[in-house]
Symmetry: C2
Subunit: 276 residues, 2 copies
Amino acid sequence: MQAVSENKCFGGVQGVYTHASDVCGCDMTFGLFLPAEAADGPVPVLWYLSGLTCTHENAMTKAGAQQWAAEQGIALVFPDTSPRGEGIADDDSYNLGTGAGFYVNATQDPWAANYRMWDYVAEELPRLLVNNVAIDEDRQAICGHSMGGHGALTIAMAYPGRFASVSALAPITHPSTSDWAKKPIHAYLGEGNVDWTRHDACLSLRANGFAGPMLIDQGTKDPFIDSLMPEALAAAITETRHPGTLRMQAGYDHSYFFVSSFIEDHVAFHAEALYA
Amino acid sequence: MQAVSENKCFGGVQGVYTHASDVCGCDMTFGLFLPAEAADGPVPVLWYLSGLTCTHENAMTKAGAQQWAAEQGIALVFPDTSPRGEGIADDDSYNLGTGAGFYVNATQDPWAANYRMWDYVAEELPRLLVNNVAIDEDRQAICGHSMGGHGALTIAMAYPGRFASVSALAPITHPSTSDWAKKPIHAYLGEGNVDWTRHDACLSLRANGFAGPMLIDQGTKDPFIDSLMPEALAAAITETRHPGTLRMQAGYDHSYFFVSSFIEDHVAFHAEALYA
Protein backbone atom coordinates (compact mmCIF):
# COMPACT_ATOMS: atom_id res chain seq x y z
CA MET A 1 0.00 0.00 0.00
CA GLN A 2 1.28 3.43 -1.00
CA ALA A 3 0.53 6.65 0.85
CA VAL A 4 -1.26 9.30 -1.20
CA SER A 5 -1.47 11.66 1.75
CA GLU A 6 -1.05 11.62 5.53
CA ASN A 7 -2.35 14.41 7.75
CA LYS A 8 -2.16 14.77 11.48
CA CYS A 9 -5.69 14.77 12.82
CA PHE A 10 -6.91 14.81 16.44
CA GLY A 11 -3.53 13.58 17.63
CA GLY A 12 -3.48 10.70 15.14
CA VAL A 13 -3.05 10.42 11.39
CA GLN A 14 -5.65 10.58 8.63
CA GLY A 15 -4.12 8.81 5.67
CA VAL A 16 -5.16 7.98 2.13
CA TYR A 17 -3.57 4.94 0.50
CA THR A 18 -3.70 3.08 -2.79
CA HIS A 19 -2.90 -0.52 -3.52
CA ALA A 20 -3.23 -2.95 -6.39
CA SER A 21 -6.36 -4.97 -5.72
CA ASP A 22 -6.35 -8.55 -7.00
CA VAL A 23 -10.03 -8.88 -6.13
CA CYS A 24 -11.14 -5.82 -8.11
CA GLY A 25 -8.47 -6.06 -10.80
CA CYS A 26 -7.53 -2.40 -10.48
CA ASP A 27 -5.87 0.03 -8.10
CA MET A 28 -8.09 0.84 -5.14
CA THR A 29 -7.92 3.83 -2.80
CA PHE A 30 -9.03 3.97 0.83
CA GLY A 31 -8.92 6.31 3.83
CA LEU A 32 -7.49 5.18 7.17
CA PHE A 33 -7.53 7.09 10.42
CA LEU A 34 -5.11 5.81 13.06
CA PRO A 35 -5.42 7.35 16.53
CA ALA A 36 -2.34 8.25 18.55
CA GLU A 37 -2.60 4.96 20.44
CA ALA A 38 -1.72 3.03 17.26
CA ALA A 39 1.89 4.09 17.75
CA ASP A 40 2.02 1.79 20.77
CA GLY A 41 0.31 -1.27 19.32
CA PRO A 42 -2.79 -2.57 17.56
CA VAL A 43 -6.01 -0.62 18.17
CA PRO A 44 -9.65 -1.59 17.60
CA VAL A 45 -11.06 -0.69 14.21
CA LEU A 46 -14.38 0.63 12.97
CA TRP A 47 -15.19 0.09 9.30
CA TYR A 48 -17.24 2.82 7.65
CA LEU A 49 -18.93 1.79 4.39
CA SER A 50 -20.15 4.68 2.28
CA GLY A 51 -23.21 5.17 0.14
CA LEU A 52 -24.02 5.63 -3.54
CA THR A 53 -21.78 8.03 -5.52
CA CYS A 54 -19.22 8.25 -2.70
CA THR A 55 -15.50 7.57 -2.93
CA HIS A 56 -13.21 6.83 0.03
CA GLU A 57 -13.19 10.57 0.63
CA ASN A 58 -16.73 11.75 1.42
CA ALA A 59 -17.15 10.31 4.90
CA MET A 60 -13.50 10.93 5.68
CA THR A 61 -13.96 14.65 5.14
CA LYS A 62 -17.61 15.19 6.04
CA ALA A 63 -18.77 12.70 8.70
CA GLY A 64 -16.66 14.13 11.52
CA ALA A 65 -15.92 10.69 12.93
CA GLN A 66 -12.22 11.22 13.66
CA GLN A 67 -12.81 13.37 16.74
CA TRP A 68 -14.76 10.62 18.46
CA ALA A 69 -12.54 7.79 17.20
CA ALA A 70 -9.52 9.66 18.59
CA GLU A 71 -11.23 10.03 21.96
CA GLN A 72 -11.87 6.30 22.01
CA GLY A 73 -8.53 5.21 20.55
CA ILE A 74 -10.19 3.52 17.59
CA ALA A 75 -9.05 3.31 13.96
CA LEU A 76 -11.42 4.13 11.10
CA VAL A 77 -11.34 2.63 7.61
CA PHE A 78 -13.10 4.32 4.69
CA PRO A 79 -13.09 2.02 1.64
CA ASP A 80 -14.18 3.14 -1.80
CA THR A 81 -17.66 2.08 -2.97
CA SER A 82 -16.67 0.45 -6.27
CA PRO A 83 -13.77 -0.23 -8.56
CA ARG A 84 -13.20 2.76 -10.82
CA GLY A 85 -10.97 4.05 -13.56
CA GLU A 86 -10.13 3.37 -17.20
CA GLY A 87 -11.32 0.04 -18.48
CA ILE A 88 -13.78 -0.48 -15.62
CA ALA A 89 -17.41 -1.00 -16.70
CA ASP A 90 -19.80 1.81 -15.84
CA ASP A 91 -23.37 2.93 -16.42
CA ASP A 92 -25.12 6.27 -16.68
CA SER A 93 -27.30 5.47 -13.66
CA TYR A 94 -26.04 6.80 -10.35
CA ASN A 95 -27.04 3.51 -8.73
CA LEU A 96 -25.14 1.14 -11.02
CA GLY A 97 -21.45 0.96 -11.87
CA THR A 98 -18.91 3.48 -10.56
CA GLY A 99 -19.71 4.53 -6.99
CA ALA A 100 -22.41 1.90 -6.73
CA GLY A 101 -20.81 -1.46 -5.99
CA PHE A 102 -23.57 -2.46 -3.56
CA TYR A 103 -21.13 -4.70 -1.65
CA VAL A 104 -21.72 -7.79 -3.79
CA ASN A 105 -19.48 -9.98 -5.97
CA ALA A 106 -20.87 -9.46 -9.47
CA THR A 107 -21.35 -12.57 -11.59
CA GLN A 108 -22.90 -10.92 -14.66
CA ASP A 109 -21.21 -9.21 -17.58
CA PRO A 110 -19.91 -6.55 -17.86
CA TRP A 111 -19.58 -6.29 -14.06
CA ALA A 112 -18.09 -9.64 -13.08
CA ALA A 113 -14.51 -8.72 -14.00
CA ASN A 114 -14.11 -5.97 -11.40
CA TYR A 115 -17.21 -5.41 -9.24
CA ARG A 116 -16.36 -7.65 -6.32
CA MET A 117 -16.84 -5.21 -3.44
CA TRP A 118 -18.00 -7.89 -0.98
CA ASP A 119 -14.71 -9.75 -1.21
CA TYR A 120 -12.78 -6.51 -1.37
CA VAL A 121 -14.26 -5.08 1.83
CA ALA A 122 -14.66 -8.34 3.74
CA GLU A 123 -11.53 -10.22 2.64
CA GLU A 124 -8.80 -8.41 0.75
CA LEU A 125 -8.71 -5.03 2.47
CA PRO A 126 -8.85 -6.48 6.03
CA ARG A 127 -5.91 -8.77 5.20
CA LEU A 128 -3.93 -5.88 3.75
CA LEU A 129 -4.54 -3.75 6.85
CA VAL A 130 -3.87 -6.45 9.42
CA ASN A 131 -0.56 -7.18 7.68
CA ASN A 132 0.53 -3.58 7.36
CA VAL A 133 -0.91 -1.31 10.06
CA ALA A 134 -1.54 -1.41 13.81
CA ILE A 135 -5.14 -2.56 13.87
CA ASP A 136 -6.40 -5.38 16.05
CA GLU A 137 -8.05 -8.11 13.97
CA ASP A 138 -9.89 -9.38 17.05
CA ARG A 139 -11.60 -6.06 17.79
CA GLN A 140 -13.57 -4.97 14.74
CA ALA A 141 -16.90 -3.19 14.33
CA ILE A 142 -18.70 -1.97 11.23
CA CYS A 143 -21.05 0.81 10.24
CA GLY A 144 -22.29 2.40 7.07
CA HIS A 145 -24.52 4.97 5.45
CA SER A 146 -27.29 4.23 2.96
CA MET A 147 -25.90 1.64 0.49
CA GLY A 148 -23.02 1.35 2.97
CA GLY A 149 -25.51 0.60 5.73
CA HIS A 150 -26.74 -2.27 3.59
CA GLY A 151 -23.14 -3.41 3.20
CA ALA A 152 -22.35 -3.08 6.90
CA LEU A 153 -25.43 -4.99 8.01
CA THR A 154 -25.17 -7.80 5.48
CA ILE A 155 -21.42 -8.32 5.90
CA ALA A 156 -21.66 -8.19 9.69
CA MET A 157 -24.27 -10.93 9.67
CA ALA A 158 -22.37 -13.08 7.18
CA TYR A 159 -19.21 -13.22 9.34
CA PRO A 160 -20.33 -14.42 12.77
CA GLY A 161 -17.87 -13.49 15.48
CA ARG A 162 -15.88 -11.00 13.45
CA PHE A 163 -17.69 -7.78 14.37
CA ALA A 164 -18.49 -6.83 17.94
CA SER A 165 -21.26 -4.48 16.84
CA VAL A 166 -22.96 -3.10 13.75
CA SER A 167 -24.64 0.22 13.06
CA ALA A 168 -26.12 2.06 10.14
CA LEU A 169 -27.33 5.51 9.20
CA ALA A 170 -30.29 5.53 6.81
CA PRO A 171 -29.46 2.05 5.52
CA ILE A 172 -31.02 0.29 2.55
CA THR A 173 -32.67 -2.37 4.67
CA HIS A 174 -34.67 -4.61 2.38
CA PRO A 175 -33.37 -4.50 -1.21
CA SER A 176 -35.16 -7.71 -2.20
CA THR A 177 -38.44 -5.76 -2.22
CA SER A 178 -37.22 -2.23 -3.00
CA ASP A 179 -36.91 -1.55 -6.74
CA TRP A 180 -34.39 1.17 -6.16
CA ALA A 181 -31.82 -1.32 -4.80
CA LYS A 182 -33.12 -4.50 -6.41
CA LYS A 183 -32.39 -3.33 -9.96
CA PRO A 184 -28.63 -2.82 -9.60
CA ILE A 185 -28.25 -5.99 -7.53
CA HIS A 186 -30.09 -7.89 -10.25
CA ALA A 187 -27.72 -6.35 -12.79
CA TYR A 188 -24.68 -7.53 -10.82
CA LEU A 189 -25.90 -10.97 -9.80
CA GLY A 190 -28.61 -11.84 -12.31
CA GLU A 191 -32.30 -11.76 -11.55
CA GLY A 192 -33.25 -15.04 -9.98
CA ASN A 193 -29.67 -15.82 -8.90
CA VAL A 194 -29.50 -13.54 -5.87
CA ASP A 195 -29.01 -15.16 -2.47
CA TRP A 196 -31.15 -12.63 -0.67
CA THR A 197 -30.52 -14.10 2.77
CA ARG A 198 -26.96 -12.87 2.17
CA HIS A 199 -27.71 -9.54 0.53
CA ASP A 200 -30.86 -8.29 2.27
CA ALA A 201 -30.29 -7.16 5.87
CA CYS A 202 -33.84 -7.94 6.95
CA LEU A 203 -33.74 -11.46 5.56
CA SER A 204 -30.22 -12.05 6.85
CA LEU A 205 -31.17 -10.97 10.36
CA ARG A 206 -34.12 -13.34 10.31
CA ALA A 207 -32.01 -16.18 8.88
CA ASN A 208 -28.64 -15.67 10.54
CA GLY A 209 -29.11 -13.28 13.43
CA PHE A 210 -26.20 -11.23 14.70
CA ALA A 211 -24.41 -11.84 17.98
CA GLY A 212 -23.99 -8.25 19.06
CA PRO A 213 -25.76 -4.93 19.42
CA MET A 214 -27.18 -2.97 16.48
CA LEU A 215 -27.86 0.77 16.22
CA ILE A 216 -29.89 2.27 13.37
CA ASP A 217 -30.60 5.95 12.76
CA GLN A 218 -33.06 7.12 10.13
CA GLY A 219 -34.11 10.70 9.40
CA THR A 220 -37.85 11.23 9.09
CA LYS A 221 -37.35 13.76 6.27
CA ASP A 222 -35.05 11.53 4.26
CA PRO A 223 -36.23 11.84 0.64
CA PHE A 224 -35.30 8.18 0.05
CA ILE A 225 -37.08 6.83 3.11
CA ASP A 226 -39.72 4.91 1.16
CA SER A 227 -37.00 2.96 -0.62
CA LEU A 228 -34.81 2.54 2.46
CA MET A 229 -37.73 0.90 4.30
CA PRO A 230 -36.84 1.41 7.99
CA GLU A 231 -40.16 -0.24 8.80
CA ALA A 232 -38.88 -3.54 7.37
CA LEU A 233 -35.77 -3.50 9.56
CA ALA A 234 -37.84 -2.42 12.57
CA ALA A 235 -40.02 -5.47 12.00
CA ALA A 236 -37.02 -7.79 11.63
CA ILE A 237 -35.36 -6.46 14.80
CA THR A 238 -38.48 -6.61 16.92
CA GLU A 239 -39.93 -9.84 15.58
CA THR A 240 -36.62 -11.68 16.06
CA ARG A 241 -36.27 -10.04 19.53
CA HIS A 242 -32.85 -8.84 18.50
CA PRO A 243 -30.93 -6.44 20.75
CA GLY A 244 -31.12 -3.36 18.59
CA THR A 245 -31.98 0.31 18.76
CA LEU A 246 -33.79 2.07 15.94
CA ARG A 247 -34.10 5.82 16.15
CA MET A 248 -36.34 7.83 13.86
CA GLN A 249 -34.64 11.22 13.92
CA ALA A 250 -37.10 14.06 13.46
CA GLY A 251 -36.48 16.35 10.52
CA TYR A 252 -33.16 14.88 9.35
CA ASP A 253 -32.55 14.05 5.71
CA HIS A 254 -30.10 11.71 3.93
CA SER A 255 -27.06 13.99 3.83
CA TYR A 256 -23.77 14.11 5.70
CA PHE A 257 -25.35 16.79 7.86
CA PHE A 258 -27.50 13.93 9.17
CA VAL A 259 -24.53 11.55 9.41
CA SER A 260 -22.33 14.01 11.26
CA SER A 261 -25.13 14.85 13.71
CA PHE A 262 -25.19 11.28 14.99
CA ILE A 263 -21.73 9.88 14.29
CA GLU A 264 -20.60 10.61 17.86
CA ASP A 265 -23.30 8.25 19.12
CA HIS A 266 -22.27 5.58 16.63
CA VAL A 267 -18.59 5.72 17.53
CA ALA A 268 -19.45 5.62 21.24
CA PHE A 269 -21.81 2.71 20.62
CA HIS A 270 -19.09 0.72 18.87
CA ALA A 271 -16.46 1.68 21.43
CA GLU A 272 -18.61 0.19 24.17
CA ALA A 273 -18.77 -3.12 22.30
CA LEU A 274 -15.11 -3.06 21.25
CA TYR A 275 -13.87 -2.46 24.78
CA ALA A 276 -16.36 -4.80 26.48
CA MET B 1 -55.74 15.74 49.51
CA GLN B 2 -54.45 14.33 52.77
CA ALA B 3 -50.87 13.32 53.42
CA VAL B 4 -50.35 9.67 54.31
CA SER B 5 -46.59 10.09 54.49
CA GLU B 6 -43.90 12.54 53.45
CA ASN B 7 -40.22 11.60 53.31
CA LYS B 8 -37.26 13.71 52.36
CA CYS B 9 -35.71 12.18 49.27
CA PHE B 10 -32.83 13.48 47.10
CA GLY B 11 -33.29 16.95 48.51
CA GLY B 12 -37.04 16.97 47.74
CA VAL B 13 -40.05 15.21 49.24
CA GLN B 14 -41.56 11.85 48.35
CA GLY B 15 -45.16 12.02 49.53
CA VAL B 16 -48.15 9.71 49.51
CA TYR B 17 -51.60 11.30 49.52
CA THR B 18 -55.22 10.24 49.51
CA HIS B 19 -58.25 12.10 48.29
CA ALA B 20 -61.91 11.43 47.67
CA SER B 21 -62.25 10.77 43.94
CA ASP B 22 -65.52 11.80 42.35
CA VAL B 23 -64.54 10.06 39.14
CA CYS B 24 -63.82 6.69 40.78
CA GLY B 25 -66.38 6.99 43.56
CA CYS B 26 -63.88 6.00 46.24
CA ASP B 27 -60.80 7.26 48.03
CA MET B 28 -57.73 7.12 45.81
CA THR B 29 -54.07 7.11 46.81
CA PHE B 30 -51.12 8.42 44.79
CA GLY B 31 -47.40 9.06 45.17
CA LEU B 32 -45.91 12.47 44.42
CA PHE B 33 -42.24 13.39 44.33
CA LEU B 34 -41.52 17.10 44.48
CA PRO B 35 -37.91 18.16 43.91
CA ALA B 36 -36.31 20.90 46.02
CA GLU B 37 -37.03 23.44 43.26
CA ALA B 38 -40.78 23.10 43.92
CA ALA B 39 -40.30 25.25 47.05
CA ASP B 40 -39.60 28.19 44.76
CA GLY B 41 -42.42 27.74 42.28
CA PRO B 42 -44.08 25.36 39.83
CA VAL B 43 -41.84 22.65 38.35
CA PRO B 44 -42.30 20.44 35.28
CA VAL B 45 -44.00 17.12 35.94
CA LEU B 46 -43.51 13.58 34.66
CA TRP B 47 -46.45 11.22 35.04
CA TYR B 48 -45.54 7.58 35.65
CA LEU B 49 -48.36 5.10 34.95
CA SER B 50 -47.83 1.66 36.43
CA GLY B 51 -48.60 -1.83 35.21
CA LEU B 52 -50.88 -4.70 36.18
CA THR B 53 -51.12 -5.57 39.90
CA CYS B 54 -49.30 -2.37 40.93
CA THR B 55 -50.50 0.25 43.38
CA HIS B 56 -49.17 3.82 43.62
CA GLU B 57 -46.27 2.34 45.55
CA ASN B 58 -44.36 -0.10 43.33
CA ALA B 59 -42.67 2.35 40.98
CA MET B 60 -42.27 4.87 43.76
CA THR B 61 -40.15 2.43 45.75
CA LYS B 62 -38.55 0.31 43.02
CA ALA B 63 -38.05 2.31 39.82
CA GLY B 64 -35.36 4.62 41.22
CA ALA B 65 -36.70 7.60 39.30
CA GLN B 66 -36.40 10.17 42.09
CA GLN B 67 -32.62 10.51 41.81
CA TRP B 68 -32.84 11.59 38.19
CA ALA B 69 -35.99 13.69 38.65
CA ALA B 70 -34.21 15.54 41.48
CA GLU B 71 -31.21 16.20 39.25
CA GLN B 72 -33.52 17.65 36.62
CA GLY B 73 -35.84 19.51 38.98
CA ILE B 74 -38.87 17.56 37.81
CA ALA B 75 -41.87 16.30 39.82
CA LEU B 76 -43.07 12.70 39.51
CA VAL B 77 -46.65 11.49 39.95
CA PHE B 78 -47.40 7.83 40.63
CA PRO B 79 -51.17 7.20 40.38
CA ASP B 80 -52.79 3.95 41.41
CA THR B 81 -53.80 1.52 38.64
CA SER B 82 -57.47 1.05 39.61
CA PRO B 83 -60.06 1.96 42.16
CA ARG B 84 -59.83 -0.44 45.08
CA GLY B 85 -61.38 -1.21 48.47
CA GLU B 86 -64.63 -2.41 49.96
CA GLY B 87 -67.58 -2.31 47.64
CA ILE B 88 -65.43 -2.00 44.50
CA ALA B 89 -66.01 -4.72 41.90
CA ASP B 90 -63.15 -7.18 41.43
CA ASP B 91 -62.28 -10.39 39.62
CA ASP B 92 -59.98 -13.34 40.31
CA SER B 93 -57.94 -12.61 37.19
CA TYR B 94 -54.81 -10.54 37.72
CA ASN B 95 -55.62 -8.64 34.54
CA LEU B 96 -59.17 -7.55 35.39
CA GLY B 97 -60.50 -5.55 38.32
CA THR B 98 -58.27 -4.37 41.18
CA GLY B 99 -54.83 -3.33 39.94
CA ALA B 100 -55.93 -3.66 36.33
CA GLY B 101 -57.85 -0.54 35.35
CA PHE B 102 -56.28 -0.43 31.87
CA TYR B 103 -56.72 3.36 31.72
CA VAL B 104 -60.25 3.25 30.27
CA ASN B 105 -63.64 4.54 31.44
CA ALA B 106 -65.67 1.36 31.92
CA THR B 107 -69.20 1.34 30.55
CA GLN B 108 -70.14 -2.25 31.42
CA ASP B 109 -71.43 -3.67 34.69
CA PRO B 110 -70.10 -4.30 37.26
CA TRP B 111 -67.18 -2.02 36.32
CA ALA B 112 -68.88 1.17 35.17
CA ALA B 113 -69.52 2.52 38.67
CA ASN B 114 -65.86 2.92 39.64
CA TYR B 115 -63.42 1.88 36.91
CA ARG B 116 -62.85 5.23 35.22
CA MET B 117 -59.06 5.37 35.25
CA TRP B 118 -58.81 7.37 31.99
CA ASP B 119 -60.74 10.29 33.44
CA TYR B 120 -59.02 9.86 36.79
CA VAL B 121 -55.49 10.04 35.39
CA ALA B 122 -56.17 12.47 32.54
CA GLU B 123 -58.71 14.81 34.18
CA GLU B 124 -59.35 14.61 37.91
CA LEU B 125 -55.87 14.00 39.30
CA PRO B 126 -54.17 16.66 37.12
CA ARG B 127 -56.77 19.23 38.28
CA LEU B 128 -56.23 18.27 41.91
CA LEU B 129 -52.47 18.61 41.60
CA VAL B 130 -52.45 21.86 39.64
CA ASN B 131 -54.73 23.37 42.29
CA ASN B 132 -52.77 22.12 45.28
CA VAL B 133 -49.08 21.62 44.56
CA ALA B 134 -46.27 23.43 42.73
CA ILE B 135 -46.41 21.69 39.38
CA ASP B 136 -46.46 23.51 36.06
CA GLU B 137 -49.51 22.58 34.01
CA ASP B 138 -47.77 23.78 30.84
CA ARG B 139 -44.79 21.46 31.21
CA GLN B 140 -46.01 17.89 31.45
CA ALA B 141 -44.62 14.61 30.13
CA ILE B 142 -45.82 11.05 30.58
CA CYS B 143 -44.35 7.57 30.78
CA GLY B 144 -45.45 4.15 31.88
CA HIS B 145 -44.60 0.49 32.27
CA SER B 146 -46.48 -2.39 30.66
CA MET B 147 -50.23 -1.63 31.07
CA GLY B 148 -49.04 1.82 32.18
CA GLY B 149 -47.10 2.15 28.93
CA HIS B 150 -50.37 1.53 27.13
CA GLY B 151 -51.97 4.22 29.28
CA ALA B 152 -49.17 6.70 28.75
CA LEU B 153 -49.10 6.29 24.99
CA THR B 154 -52.87 6.36 24.46
CA ILE B 155 -53.49 9.31 26.79
CA ALA B 156 -50.56 11.29 25.36
CA MET B 157 -51.96 10.92 21.86
CA ALA B 158 -55.51 11.78 22.92
CA TYR B 159 -54.51 15.15 24.42
CA PRO B 160 -52.58 16.98 21.70
CA GLY B 161 -50.37 19.70 23.13
CA ARG B 162 -50.55 18.59 26.73
CA PHE B 163 -47.47 16.37 26.91
CA ALA B 164 -44.09 17.46 25.61
CA SER B 165 -42.92 13.86 25.28
CA VAL B 166 -44.02 10.28 25.89
CA SER B 167 -42.08 7.15 26.77
CA ALA B 168 -42.80 3.59 27.76
CA LEU B 169 -41.03 0.58 29.17
CA ALA B 170 -42.32 -2.74 27.83
CA PRO B 171 -45.68 -1.24 26.90
CA ILE B 172 -48.78 -3.11 25.78
CA THR B 173 -48.71 -1.67 22.29
CA HIS B 174 -51.55 -3.18 20.32
CA PRO B 175 -54.33 -4.45 22.60
CA SER B 176 -56.88 -4.62 19.79
CA THR B 177 -55.11 -7.71 18.48
CA SER B 178 -53.55 -9.12 21.68
CA ASP B 179 -55.93 -11.42 23.61
CA TRP B 180 -54.11 -10.76 26.85
CA ALA B 181 -55.15 -7.10 26.85
CA LYS B 182 -58.22 -7.30 24.63
CA LYS B 183 -60.18 -9.45 27.07
CA PRO B 184 -60.16 -7.04 30.02
CA ILE B 185 -60.78 -4.03 27.77
CA HIS B 186 -63.75 -5.87 26.28
CA ALA B 187 -65.00 -6.56 29.80
CA TYR B 188 -64.78 -2.86 30.69
CA LEU B 189 -66.10 -1.37 27.45
CA GLY B 190 -68.11 -4.14 25.83
CA GLU B 191 -66.89 -6.15 22.88
CA GLY B 192 -67.78 -4.24 19.75
CA ASN B 193 -68.03 -0.90 21.59
CA VAL B 194 -64.31 -0.18 21.93
CA ASP B 195 -62.94 2.90 20.16
CA TRP B 196 -59.62 1.29 19.40
CA THR B 197 -58.14 4.42 17.83
CA ARG B 198 -58.35 5.79 21.38
CA HIS B 199 -57.25 2.71 23.31
CA ASP B 200 -54.64 1.07 21.07
CA ALA B 201 -51.34 2.95 20.89
CA CYS B 202 -50.48 1.64 17.43
CA LEU B 203 -53.84 2.63 15.97
CA SER B 204 -53.83 5.95 17.79
CA LEU B 205 -50.37 6.83 16.47
CA ARG B 206 -51.50 6.04 12.94
CA ALA B 207 -54.76 8.00 13.39
CA ASN B 208 -53.72 10.90 15.60
CA GLY B 209 -49.96 11.08 15.60
CA PHE B 210 -48.12 12.70 18.49
CA ALA B 211 -46.40 16.07 18.33
CA GLY B 212 -43.31 15.19 20.32
CA PRO B 213 -40.58 12.62 20.78
CA MET B 214 -41.24 9.04 21.87
CA LEU B 215 -38.88 6.61 23.61
CA ILE B 216 -39.68 2.90 23.95
CA ASP B 217 -37.59 0.28 25.76
CA GLN B 218 -38.39 -3.43 25.53
CA GLY B 219 -36.42 -6.29 27.06
CA THR B 220 -35.69 -9.17 24.71
CA LYS B 221 -36.19 -11.72 27.50
CA ASP B 222 -39.51 -10.29 28.63
CA PRO B 223 -41.79 -13.30 29.20
CA PHE B 224 -44.79 -11.24 28.00
CA ILE B 225 -43.12 -9.96 24.83
CA ASP B 226 -45.39 -11.86 22.46
CA SER B 227 -48.43 -10.15 23.99
CA LEU B 228 -46.77 -6.74 24.28
CA MET B 229 -46.02 -6.77 20.54
CA PRO B 230 -43.11 -4.33 20.20
CA GLU B 231 -43.08 -5.20 16.50
CA ALA B 232 -46.50 -3.57 16.07
CA LEU B 233 -45.35 -0.30 17.61
CA ALA B 234 -42.09 -0.45 15.66
CA ALA B 235 -44.16 -0.70 12.49
CA ALA B 236 -46.43 2.18 13.52
CA ILE B 237 -43.47 4.42 14.39
CA THR B 238 -41.50 3.69 11.26
CA GLU B 239 -44.39 3.56 8.79
CA THR B 240 -45.75 6.90 10.01
CA ARG B 241 -42.19 8.31 9.99
CA HIS B 242 -42.70 9.38 13.59
CA PRO B 243 -39.77 10.74 15.60
CA GLY B 244 -39.32 7.88 17.99
CA THR B 245 -36.66 5.61 19.41
CA LEU B 246 -37.30 1.94 20.05
CA ARG B 247 -34.64 0.02 21.91
CA MET B 248 -34.65 -3.76 22.20
CA GLN B 249 -32.64 -4.29 25.38
CA ALA B 250 -30.73 -7.55 25.35
CA GLY B 251 -31.50 -9.97 28.15
CA TYR B 252 -33.84 -7.77 30.16
CA ASP B 253 -37.18 -9.06 31.41
CA HIS B 254 -40.40 -7.33 32.51
CA SER B 255 -39.47 -6.51 36.10
CA TYR B 256 -38.53 -3.36 37.96
CA PHE B 257 -34.92 -4.44 37.56
CA PHE B 258 -35.50 -3.70 33.88
CA VAL B 259 -37.35 -0.45 34.63
CA SER B 260 -34.72 0.83 37.04
CA SER B 261 -31.93 0.02 34.58
CA PHE B 262 -33.30 2.47 32.03
CA ILE B 263 -35.29 5.01 34.04
CA GLU B 264 -32.36 7.45 34.05
CA ASP B 265 -32.56 7.56 30.26
CA HIS B 266 -36.30 8.12 30.36
CA VAL B 267 -36.13 10.97 32.87
CA ALA B 268 -33.32 12.60 30.86
CA PHE B 269 -35.32 12.14 27.66
CA HIS B 270 -38.35 13.88 29.15
CA ALA B 271 -36.24 16.60 30.77
CA GLU B 272 -34.86 17.51 27.36
CA ALA B 273 -38.39 17.96 26.00
CA LEU B 274 -39.72 19.69 29.13
CA TYR B 275 -36.91 22.26 29.14
CA ALA B 276 -36.79 22.74 25.35
